[in-house]
């Protein structure tokens, strides 16, 4: 690995308002905006995940049609969900969540680039 690249890797600077890695900057405003969006996304998905996950034992306790009535061969709805459909639910959630979280990361990327450009323009103007 060339030394120049190692030098680039170690260029990290910043203060309480921004952090810079090489040519790239994060500002506290842009990170806060995307953090709030990420938090909303994560906690919305989290609420759905826990609601569905806890609904399964809840139905197992209080809904006879769920746990005691065969719907296909010996499968009750409870058995079918726990042995198969729950995993499909997990895969779908993890996939869609990851895609949406990646999108938010891209937004942060654009936002930080825009903020950096604005700051540079202001500095040039002031000079």
């Amino acid at each position: 690995m060339p030394d120049s690249k190692l030098h680039v890797i170690s260029t990290v600077s910043g203060d309480s308002q921004h952090i810079r890695h090489g040519d790239h900057t994060d500002t506290i405003e842009s990170v806060d905006i995307v953090f709030r969006a990420q938090r909303k996304l994560s906690f919305t998905y989290g609420a759905i995940f826990f609601a569905v996950t806890l609904a399964i034992p809840a139905a197992s306790v209080w809904w006879e049609g769920w746990y005691a009535v065969p719907i296909w061969g010996g499968f009750t709805a409870n058995y079918l969900v726990v042995s198969l459909l729950y995993y499909i639910f997990l895969w779908t959630m993890a996939w869609t969540y990851s895609k949406q979280a990646d999108k938010l990361d891209e937004q942060l990327m654009d936002m930080a680039t825009a903020i950096t450009a604005t700051e540079t323009a202001k500095e040039v103007e002031a000079e």
């Binding site: 690249k5 952090i19 790239h24 995940f49 005691a68 010996g74 009750t76 993890a94 969540y97 990646d102």
Partner: protein, 610 residues
Amino acid sequence: MNTIAIVLVIALIVFTISLSIFSRRFTRTTADFYLAGRKVGSFSNASAISGDYLSAASFLGVAGAVYASGLDGVWYAAGFAGGFMVVVLFIASALRRFGEYTVADFAFGRFGSNRIRLITVIAVLLTSLFYMAPQMFGAGTTWQVLVGKGAFGMDPYTTGVVVVAGIIAFYVAVGGMKGTTLNQIFQFWWLAFAMTMVVIFSFGNGFSYPQALADASESPIVNTKQMTVAELTTENPATGKTPYDSAASLMTEEELAKVDEFIASDAEGKIPVALPSANKLHELRDQLFSEPGHRYNTFDQFSMVLALVLGTAGLPHILNRYYTNPSGSAARRSTFWVLVFIGTFYIFAPIAGLAGLGFIKEYLAGGGTLNAATVHGLLVKPDQVMPTLAEILGGQWLMGIVSAGAFAAMFSTVGGLLIAAASAIGHDVYEKYVDPNATEAKRVAVGKIAVLAFAALALFIGLAIPKYGLDQAYPALIAMMVTWAFSVGASAFVPMLLTGIWWKGTTERGATAGMLVGLISAISIIFLNIFQQLGTVGKEGILGFFGALTFPVLFTFPLGLLTIIIVSKIDGQLPKNVDQIWMRIHGTASERHEKQHGLDKVGSMFTKGK
């Protein structure tokens, strides 16, 4: 054990050691030793995490739990998988973005105190020990079942513990995280192959999932239990019946004659009997295979799933693997693939358990004989269902593949635990406090010594469990101990990680108090439970209530979380550089920079460290 199985297990061991020796030249720096140079791609890392996560308890135990308990066993598997949703939603990418090496580094970097780093180290070591214990006990019992012979004058159990601890200590110390990662990838795919083969052979022999489930649910679940003469003949005051009376209502005359003979001889030891199962959830219903209630009552139906779901996010050997990813989004992708891999595995494991129920009964009814102990057409030890089914359906070859899979599962999990423990001692303590100026070579050497020391401790624990009678106190000790590890991890780490990542107002005092409360309360309840099982703590009063909790996490997790929130609110002393910390956790400048210079590329795990 058959020759093919022995050959395959030896081949697995040789291959494992070879991979470590191959990886040795790529393990020069601490980043190589603990993190595989942070160059593990999503798919590879997902395979390694899956290998790390799926222990022998998962490979042999889940099918066994389904075989013995039906739907409650299936739910147990689903809970294991569900835990990774908490990881992907709340922890994976933030932990990776923060960088560093370990969970203790995160605690130190986020809250800025040595105190919280040391408490985290203690929590990591305790959680690893709690998780190591069932793995080592599993190593001994698996050797007992699959090999059945001792070596160098040791009994089979001791031989299993010594062999597994020795091999893993060697391959982790030599190969570091790179060697361990390669091994875990290989070991995961081997056990996935073994599980798939058992399922394919089941369907190939006429297994129909819906029909088998209908057949298994025609009559109530029957359990097997090994009992002493005293236990068999002691009357239950509530029903006025003895276990012998219950067994007599089920067992054939021939089977019962053996029990009568055992009672008449007043012999020491235990005899297996078949007993009807009670429905703990719907007491007026028969306990059918397709219905819940065999293992868990109402309280435990909820607490079990919460314990498993939250506990996965608190296993340090799993969390550490997220630092090996090249980026936060790669960490998320890894978790998605983990869910696909282990989800498929946990779909297959219940199929094997159910298939075992039918095929083993059919085989015995047809006059077949098995090495495993059986009574009333059922295995006395349900954990033996995988190798037994493999032998019935695929002969010596399939049983060999399954045997090697069981050892692969143990190797991969204990390997991950050793790396986690070594990084806690070598990186978090030695490098930070003992000798911060140590050379890379010295740091790596300390990491290797830590691996060997922890492997010795694991060996001691494995040998101590039967010595102190813990295996007699708990009928399903491996599953029980796994839930303890989950409970300790969930109570100590998860509240700190969740608040540290998602609530800027978390203070060092709050996080420290929450970790301590979670850790101490979880361990206290676990020991109360152990002492209650060993008969030194009664079942009455407040101690009796907490001692009876199977899954303490339902109390200890909210307790830890509330402590963090309340103490942080009262304290209000945020770290001075909290905004910088925030940008480090949630910002992407570092990743964009790495991407710009091509440093995020994976596939270079085998460049030599500088």
